[in-house]
């Protein structure tokens, strides 16, 4: 099947005076139609920069220096600003992390949902409003007809995130990018937001790129998981595969740091020692090597390539280079 989104060797650097911050350095991944893909990594590993590249909203002084982003047979990096604008919201939409900030404080929320319809379809004001109320009802906002006239601050955090999801679903997009949509919500609400995203996939067939540093939520909804570290993909595999057979030491560390359910309680969770490297001054070899328990000499000297260990399971680690094919 033709992938819906295909990112090839994407490099996005921030040029700050004499130093170059390599936020995203040679990232490649694919999303199939209707697939939910998790993009996992700690803060500062380039997750957000990568999606800003996909939407072509990379703030200055950031620049995409290399790579291709194919969406629906179009290279997004070659489109005109107006063509790109028509793709945002219509074909690729976004659910942002902080719902309160993502909603305009002085405009009724229904109007904000309707606005996406007005920007991308030929709907009349009335039709757009009715569609907005319908969407708000579908995302689980009680008494949507009445509450569409309320302002953002009159809703709880979970309800605000529902409204943001309603705006993201407004034009039946092929791809929804969810940038840590459950951060700051309590677990029961997290669960509801996740099931809302799953429902969106079921009903509209949208693919979802789910970005998070919370491994637990990612595992619960994603078909496939991509692990990023210091601006590059270190491992990528189907969820089950990555849980049962993690290959990269970093992935292993992440999985070991999830508190286990049942069994004997542990005093301390095993943590990965050290800090991610400074993206302005990256180590010449494997970027994880300084923190890696299995690091050998070649790891510090040479940069490993992303190799296919088994079909669909990619890993960037010297331990697996010989076992390729």
């Amino acid at each position: 099947m033709e992938p819906l989104l295909q990112v090839k060797n994407l490099c996005a650097y921030f040029f700050m005076g004499s130093s170059i911050l390599k936020a995203v350095d040679g990232v490649s991944f694919e999303i199939q139609p209707g697939q939910i893909v998790g993009l996992v990594g700690e803060s500062g590993c380039g997750k957000t920069t990568a999606i800003q590249c996909v939407l072509r909203l990379l703030p200055s002084p950031g620049r995409i220096v290399e790579g291709e982003i194919w969406f629906d047979d179009k290279d997004l990096l070659t489109l005109s600003p107006e063509e790109m604008r028509q793709i945002r919201g219509r074909h690729i939409s976004v659910v942002l992390q902080d719902a309160m900030a993502a909603l305009n404080p002085v405009i009724p929320v229904g109007e904000q949902v309707a606005d996406i319809r007005l920007a991308h379809t030929t709907d009349s004001n009335r039709a757009a409003w009715e569609k907005a109320v319908e969407l708000m009802g579908k995302t689980g906002i009680p008494r949507a007809i009445e509450r569409a006239r309320y302002h953002a601050h009159e809703f709880s955090g979970g309800m605000q995130q529902r409204i943001v999801i309603a705006t993201a679903l407004a034009c039946n997009p092929e791809l929804i990018i969810a940038d840590e949509p459950t951060t700051g919500l309590d677990v029961t609400i997290q669960e509801q937001i996740l099931s809302l995203l799953l429902k969106a996939r079921e009903q509209m067939g949208s693919a979802i790129l789910y970005i998070s540093h919370d491994f637990a939520t990612v595992v619960s909804i994603c078909d496939r998981i991509i692990i990023m570290y210091a601006g590059e993909v270190v491992e990528s595999a189907p969820t089950k595969e990555i849980l049962t057979n993690p290959m990269h030491p970093y992935t292993e560390g992440l999985i070991n740091s999830i508190p286990p359910l049942g069994g004997t309680p542990m005093e301390f969770l095993p943590a990965i020692p050290g800090l991610p490297p400074n993206p302005v001054d990256l180590p010449p070899g494997c970027r994880f090597a300084p923190r890696c328990a299995h690091a050998k000499e070649e790891c510090l000297a040479q940069r490993p390539q992303l190799v296919a260990r088994t079909p669909g399971h990619y890993v960037r680690c010297f331990s697996y280079k010989e076992e390729m094919n």
Partner: protein, 279 residues
């Protein structure tokens, strides 16, 4: 309707709004409600004190009815203030918002010009305009429009600079809103309260300014009354007949005060985040 309902919960602003409506009605209905012809000279009845028969607020140096002249004078004062501030708002908001939204050389040039204009006292600008075009209402309106526009540009510019970085603007951009849509739906509603407050406060300043320019003999030519020119006429006889400039000055005070009250209250009234308390 919602606005009026909320206005009523804010007593001071409501009083200000009522007073403004009365003053506006007074200006509109001036020819009907003046007890005398405001320009009718009656040398026999000069400097009558307030309370004289037929002249509630007395007469001036030419025996004209002070009350009628105050009523008619409101027209020039409000017209000059309204048109001048309206002009300042249109120029200032347009340039301020555009400058903030499309940062770069345009922003630098516009804001530098605004700063230079802002540094020149309004009176100097008015003197220049009146010197160029002669003494007329239009010149005064133009002077106020030019002199006040940097205020609006500055207020809008700084507000938009902070708004353009907020999450909901970024969200709109990520959802494919065009620049115009972002300006109209995200930026404008958020700076509207600021503009409204700036308008009401500027209106009160402009009324004072017109009075000041009239006092210096730069506003309308006699015999057309304006509050400023009346103050100027009354000044010479202040010791023998103090009531005429007193009542005129009182009228200026009431108008300025009303606009200030409304402006103060509008800031709270226009903020949806403050509505909850009123529900």
């Amino acid at each position: 309707m919602e606005l009026i309902r909320r206005l009523r919960t804010n007593t001071l602003a409501f009083v200000g709004a009522i007073a403004i409506v009365i003053i506006l009605l007074m200006a509109i209905l001036a020819p009907v409600i003046t007890p005398h012809d405001p320009n009718e000279v009656n040398t026999a009845d000069r400097f009558l004190p307030p309370g004289s028969e037929g002249y509630m607020l007395g007469t001036d140096l030419l025996g004209r009815d002070v009350l009628s002249r105050i009523i008619l004078g409101s027209r020039v004062s409000l017209l000059v203030a309204g048109v001048g501030v309206g002009m300042a708002m249109v120029i200032g908001v347009t340039f301020g918002v555009i400058a903030a939204f499309w940062a770069g050389w345009f922003e630098i040039i516009v804001m530098q010009i605004a700063d230079v204009l802002y540094a020149v006292p309004t009176l100097m600008i008015a003197l220049g305009v009146v010197g160029l075009f002669g003494r007329s209402v239009n010149a005064v309106m133009f002077a106020i429009g030019v002199a006040y526009s940097p205020l609006f540009a500055r207020v809008c510019h700084s507000a938009v600079v902070s708004i353009r970085e907020l999450g909901f603007v970024e969200a709109s951009r990520a959802m494919g809103a065009s620049h115009l849509r972002i300006l109209w739906k995200d930026v404008m509603p958020n700076i509207l309260p600021l503009i409204m407050v700036q308008v009401t406060v500027s209106l009160s300043w402009a009324i004072l300014q017109e009075a000041g320019l009239g006092f210096l003999g730069m506003s309308v030519a006699p015999p057309t009354p304006s509050w400023g020119t009346m103050l100027n006429e009354g000044r010479e006889y202040f010791y023998s007949a103090p009531t005429m400039p007193l009542f005129t000055g009182l009228m200026v005070l009431i108008a300025v005060f009303s606009f200030n009250l409304l402006g103060d209250g509008l800031r709270d009234i226009l903020d949806p985040r403050a509505w909850e308390r009123l529900r």
